[in-house]
Symmetry: C2
Subunit: 185 residues, 2 copies
């Protein structure tokens, strides 16, 4: 082989990682394969040595983003993260201004659904988040509570990212954060 035995696998991962970021930050449709490959110092023709089509990349990038966020949500020792920490992270300034590193549901999955390319990965990402929240809840209605909490988090994040006024954005984040945390005691 021309390069080290895992050179191609490394390039594949670099493409995946970059795409997962750009798709979430700029949108899938707004991210061209040409600029994507160029940002990695490669030419666009080589893309098809790694993926059959842009659609395949989109699917794989969603999985990649899901894994990144899974890792981000689990703490260092793979213990369930306390609920208040998850809430703080999900509604942080960082998450609002860093969609390229954040939850792919309000960005990639929403656009994929709009284009009629729903993916089972989306459901598994939703279920992963719900399960993660559920694990921190004691009661019998933990599943219902987890859905309410996560829907609030997603909605507040979407609204916060859409607002132009800093005051309105802060109010949405603060109120949602505080209400969720105090209702969880």
């Amino acid at each position: 082989m021309r390069y080290s035995h895992n050179h191609k696998a490394l390039t594949y991962q670099r493409i995946l990682k970059e795409a997962a970021g750009l798709f979430r930050r700029d949108g899938i449709g707004a991210t061209g394969l040409q600029p994507l490959m160029k940002s990695l110092g490669l030419t666009h023709g080589g893309f098809y040595a790694h993926f059959a089509s842009k659609n395949e990349l989109v699917e794989k990038a969603l999985q990649q983003a899901a894994c990144e966020v899974d890792g981000l949500c689990a703490d260092i020792f793979s213990q369930p993260q306390p609920l208040h920490a998850f809430i703080d992270t999900y509604l942080s300034q960082w998450h609002v201004t860093s969609p390229h590193e954040g939850c792919p549901l309000p960005t990639m999955s929403a656009e994929m659904a709009q284009q009629g390319h729903a993916s089972p990965t989306t459901d598994s990402v939703i279920n992963a988040r719900l399960g993660q929240i559920q694990n921190t809840l004691p009661g019998a209605d933990a599943e219902e509570q987890s859905i309410m909490i996560f829907a609030s988090l997603v909605g507040a994040l979407v609204l916060a990212r859409s607002t132009e006024s800093d005051a309105l954005r802060e109010k949405i984040l603060d109120v949602t954060r505080n209400t969720l945390k105090q209702s969880a005691e």
Copy 2:
């Protein structure tokens, strides 16, 4: 003048209405001006007799969508709609499958924010919905409650539209609907 004195104004409104629907259903980037004009039986060149650019249309279409939804939310006698009715409408099967007629926040505003084209209209749409909910609430913390309720609605709608599994979608909608309605007594 060539046509009736308000012919141009009518065409303007037809473009606006069609765009407000397509932008919400397919996305702004995925909606071309050529297909848009063609779907009205017009040619694309005439577009610029009505709007200076696609960006101007986007801004005006967001306002149009906001007005449509305002009208949809207010009841016939312009009385505030009962909260439970608003919740039922926002989380209805109809709203999930008819983004072209629904709230422009999870569709247009989210994409506009992603593209760096935040609009004051978005903030006013958010404030309008919050105010509408607030009017149905008695307590002193009506503002906080309205934010929590609306964030939950937006999040549940975004998640429901993204899911592939009917069961998961129904569960998200049902749980959010029921929990919000019973917590509002």
